[in-house]
Amino acid sequence: MTNSTPIRMPRGTRAGAALVVAVLTVAACTYAAIEAIALATRERTLGFDVHAVTRYGRTTHWDDTAVTVAGIAAAVIGLALVLAALLPPRRRTIELATDDHLLAVGMSLASLRRTLQAAVLTIDGVGTARVRGRRHWTVTATTNLRDTTGLPETIHNRVTTELASLNPTRQRPVRVRLIRKDR
């Protein structure tokens, strides 16, 4: 690593898709092996009907609707798996910029929301706070204060300052909603 291109947090590993496909393939292979052993030995194996598959093959024709549907379904699932393998998985973390190009820092969306929420709750007069958002940060805060002059701006500044210090690589605008709760 001799160039100065900043390193980045890795993308996902496609573990969910791999888990589902591997479990289903193990199940299909187990069934196929039992059937094949049953047909090879011409005996009933583990309760499986020896001739069930061959009987189905003899009585079913290529142009049966079930065969067409099975073929199309297999092709569609296959295409989805090929695309899952080829397309890069999405990044699961929000990356924070650093001056060190050999350090990558990532934070989950939930963790960043929680940090912003904690920052808002340090402001005098803010009772509760919730941070949401994917394309922009929406802070919903409640207050018991009668005079709330400047409070939305204070919350906005506090969140903006916190974001500036965290320095996420993708900037998003901040919106503040302030709700007055009666005592």
Partner: protein, 207 residues
């Protein structure tokens, strides 16, 4: 940290997907009569095939063996999912000449990982830190997972790592190009965080 699993998943999904796509496309084209209506009207297990397989029953043994092998490969695929690529030793220097004093100097990667963990865990707001090394003994990289309190100064923790911990580790190991990956999770209760919908909306910002 899990590059091997990621590569295995990519290859596994790609191969199985391609096999399924080709088989499905072949099945659909025959079924839809692309190769002629006569072929489409045939049973999928016709009499000549039955006779051939009846005379060569070892074919079923071959099918069983193939199913068992593919099944075992998939079991292995499942087993490697949670596995992480960890490096046990780092090569500090290597002198393979026959001169006196020549040899290799290796360092247990756990020693480096423990150092990083202790250094970061001592910072305010750090709840739990775990570190591990991966990569090659010549070009290691460090993976750090930090669990912090909601009110922790995340920027300070990150800056402490980049400005103090990493430079000293890189200097000690003689690895100025040591790459580091820090994954931060914030856990814990954030005061009274729930907002109620009952109330009067009095302001919305920025103005």
């Amino acid at each position: 940290m899990r590059r091997l699993a990621a590569r295995g998943n990519r290859i596994g999904l790609g191969l199985l997907g391609l096999a399924l796509l080709l088989a499905g496309a072949a099945l659909a084209t025959v079924s839809l009569g692309v190769f002629g209506d006569d072929n489409a009207a045939q049973p999928i297990y016709p009499s000549p095939a039955q006779r051939y397989i009846h005379q060569h029953s070892w074919i079923w043994s071959l099918v069983a063996a193939a199913a068992i092998i593919i099944g075992l490969l998939c079991v292995r695929w499942l087993i490697v999912q949670p596995r992480r690529d960890t490096l046990r030793r780092i090569r500090i220097d290597s002198d393979r000449t026959s001169e006196p004093g020549a040899g290799r100097t290796l360092l247990l990667s756990a020693a480096v990982a423990n150092l990083v963990e202790d250094e970061l865990a001592a910072q305010s707001g750090a709840r739990r830190v775990s570190a591990a090394l991966s990569g090659s003994p010549d070009q290691p990289e460090i993976w750090i997972t930090l669990v912090a309190d909601p009110g922790a100064d995340i920027a300070h923790l990150r800056d402490h790592l980049s400005e103090t911990t990493l430079p000293s580790i890189r200097s000690a190991l003689g690895q100025p190009q040591l790459a580091a990956y820090l994954s931060i999770t914030v856990k814990g209760r954030v005061g009274h965080s729930r907002t109620s919908k009952h109330g009067v909306l009095i302001g919305q910002g920025p103005p």
